[in-house]
């Protein structure tokens, strides 16, 4: 395969990376600060996609519908997560991880059934907005969907926003400190409980945003949570538990090995990202970047 082919495939892989990064950075944030391995994160991503469908419908399904969905769906997910955090999770931070794992697993089942009750079993589809319909030719004339160009813009924007949030805001600094020593932060008079709630909601908002962004490219369906949560966890583990930049690195590796792997060996393209995970963990069992755990 020539160079243009490789470049094309890399571009395509990058747009997949964006979705993976957005979702797994949220997962990693929650894991790092709150120490919750949130299995229900995938369900929130699914709810984000279904909400995007509903909101886009509400506004006539066109351009307006898409933008409203992109803003509205993550907010709805954030509200749901705020409710879950205040009512259940905040009482359980001190429990063992296994307990939390089971609890979030239960939540993922409940959310899954709720989605079925509310939206039914049929596949849903969110139309790609007019501006992003069609494709642009890449090097060598191979088509690249315009919507993916939009995704490629979204990725860095969100990465920068996250960086600003973590490093330049008070809440970011407090949560960094709380991740290291929760009691100490409480001792200096900061309401840790609310800091945790905010971090949890931001993390879940990212899941919802991922769902809203992916919705126009796929069929919105029950079960889309399962595939994603597995990949997101692998990415977070590969990158280093709780490290947002690890999530970015993991998502890059995952997305690129997949798209480039297809070039090398189309029949078995699916094994490359998983092989990458194994190789990374063989040489760096704690992940590529420093884990907060």
């Amino acid at each position: 395969m020539d160079v243009t082919g490789i470049l094309n495939q890399a571009f395509v892989g990058l747009s997949r990376t964006v979705i993976l990064f957005i979702v797994s950075s949220g997962l990693s944030l929650i894991l790092g600060v709150l120490r919750i391995p949130n299995i229900a994160h995938g369900s929130l991503y699914m709810i984000g996609a279904f909400m995007a469908f509903t909101i886009s419908r509400l506004f006539g399904g066109g351009e307006m519908g898409f933008w409203m969905a992109l803003i509205g769906a993550p907010l709805v997910v954030a509200l749901i997560s705020l409710f879950a955090e205040r009512s259940v999770f905040q009482h359980l931070y001190e429990r063992e991880h296994l307990m939390l794992l089971l609890l979030t697993f239960a939540f993922s089942l409940i959310f899954g059934d709720l989605v079925k009750i509310i939206w039914g079993g049929d596949y849903k589809s969110v139309p790609v907005p007019q501006v992003f319909q069609g494709f642009v030719p890449l090097i060598g004339g191979l088509p690249f969907p315009t919507y993916n160009v939009f995704l490629l813009v979204c990725g860095p924007v969100i990465a920068i926003l996250l960086w600003l949030l973590v490093n330049k805001t008070k809440i970011g600094k407090i949560s960094q400190a709380a991740a290291v020593d929760r009691e100490m932060v409480g001792a200096v008079g900061i309401n840790v409980s609310w800091v945790f709630a905010i971090v949890f909601v931001i993390g879940c908002l990212l899941a919802g945003l991922g769902g809203a962004l992916v919705a126009p490219t796929v069929s919105v369906t029950l079960g889309m949570d399962h595939t994603l949560i597995m990949e997101a966890f692998l990415i977070v583990i590969m990158g280093g538990l709780g490290n947002i930049w690890g999530a970015l690195l993991g998502a890059l590796i995952f997305g690129l090995t997949q798209s480039l792997g297809i070039l090398v060996w189309p029949q078995f393209g699916i094994i490359f990202p998983y092989a990458a995970v194994i190789i990374v963990l063989l040489f760096r069992p704690a992940g590529l970047l420093k884990a907060t755990w």
């Binding site: 399904g61 849903k124 969907p145 993916n148 490219t217 796929v218 069929s219």
Partner: protein
């Protein structure tokens, strides 16, 4: 103290009352069908219609006095797309619920597991919507009935239609599981039979549930095939079509997917679905345009306020075959029931349908068509629809039964 006792007694009366009431619900004067299917996850898009079609027919049968003076009853179980759960449920339905007949499942793994159990327990088992050719082939037996088309029938029908077209350079792509490989193999084998010049440029396989097909599509485009056989199932159908439209694949290279033209694939996409995709199906609510089909569609829409998908026909016909089978047998006896069903033909929305005596396969038609916009609907439909000659895709009895003996 007295109050406590009263409360306790009241509670016990309530609980036992419930138990007695609910057990009388399954009185001796009924024929019971135990349905095991996937009611969680993406498969629900199809299983709900199977169940609703079944329900519709059962209500009609019971309104006309039931079967042999008995009411036809059914109970459902959700196997969550897991064969081990499905098998446990089949056991529970037979041992505890004492069902006379088992039916169900969109999952081939579950269908095969339950089928094995049905064979041992000598309980008739009607397969609703899983498409493995092993169900009546290699793993077939006297007690299993396939009420749906299988991958061999669908794949061969498409292969026959494609083999008569001028394309020679093919590419195969699909979901990396039995269904995908089986569809693709059957299509490709039949293409070669009809078109000696056909060659395969390459293959691409992705994991089941893959959501982003763009990287695969750019790679296929680079290879410049003339036609692509796309063997996706479930939500992959819509996902692939969306990606094919976004990347411009749909405008550049024609491709085929089994069920591409079905309502379940096209309706969710509305007017945005790609035009010009070839597909096969055994049922459309608008084709054939006959009074019988119209009557069924009207009935279904009246009951559920939506159009029936292909899977609705399966449920609808299964209930009727069960009822007519017992009627013809004249008694609730499994052996007589099976004998009665072999070769039985019933009128259906798509014309008379028969259960083939040798292998218990329902002889469904196959419709070949291409996705097209239609002013009557706000989604695409199957255009230029043709009936594929059963000679071109129905395997002979001998061919189906051969692997059973090994």
């Amino acid at each position: 103290m007295m109050r406590r006792i009263i409360v306790l007694v009241a509670f016990m009366v309530f609980v036992f009352g419930f138990a007695v009431w609910s057990s009388t619900g399954h009185a001796a004067g009924t024929i019971k069908v135990g349905i095991i299917d996937t009611y969680t996850g993406p498969a629900t898009a199809y299983t709900q219609d199977t169940l609703d079609g079944f329900k519709l027919a059962v209500e009609k049968i019971n309104a006309k006095g039931g079967v042999l003076g008995k009411k036809l009853e059914y109970t459902t179980r959700d196997e969550k797309f897991k064969p081990d759960i499905g098998l446990a449920m089949a056991k529970e339905l037979v041992m505890k619920e004492k069902v006379d007949v088992l039916a169900g499942t969109i999952n081939s793994g579950t269908a095969l597991a339950v089928s094995e159990f049905a064979k041992k327990e000598k309980i008739p088992f009607f397969v609703f919507y899983s498409k493995s050719e092993k169900i009546i082939g290699e793993k077939g037996h006297k007690y299993v009935f396939n009420m749906n088309e299988n991958t061999m029938m669908a794949g061969r029908a498409a292969g026959a239609a494609l083999g008569k077209m001028p394309y020679t350079k093919y590419w195969i792509a699909g979901d990396d599981y039995e269904y995908g490989h089986s569809i693709a193999n059957n299509v490709w084998e039949n293409i070669q039979k009809f078109n000696k010049k056909a060659i395969l440029l390459g293959q691409t396989w992705w994991k089941v549930g893959e959501a982003d097909f763009t990287p695969y599509i750019t790679q296929i485009l680079a290879a410049k095939p003339e036609f692509i056989i796309v063997a996706t199932g479930g939500s992959g159908m819509v996902n692939f079509q969306k990606a094919a439209k976004a990347t411009g694949l749909a405008q550049k290279i024609p491709f085929y997917q089994h069920t591409a033209t079905e309502l379940g694939t096209l309706m969710p996409q509305g007017k945005d679905a790609p035009e010009g995709v070839w597909g096969t199906s055994h049922y459309f609510f608008y084709y054939p345009d006959t009074p019988a089909n119209k009557a069924f569609v009207d009935e279904f829409r009246k009951a559920y306020n939506r159009y029936p998908k292909a899977s609705a026909l399966t449920g609808y016909m299964t209930a009727q075959f069960i009822a007519e089978g017992y009627k013809k047998a004249g008694k609730v006896n499994t052996e007589a029931f099976i004998k009665a069903l072999e070769g039985m033909s019933l009128p259906s929305p798509v014309g008379p349908l028969a259960i083939r005596a040798c292998d218990h396969q329902l002889e469904l038609p196959t419709y070949w068509g291409i996705t097209k916009k239609d002013p009557k609907y706000d989604f695409l439909i199957s255009g230029d629809t043709q009936v594929v000659d059963p000679k071109d895709f129905m395997p002979s009895c001998q061919e189906v039964l051969r692997p059973r003996k090994q």
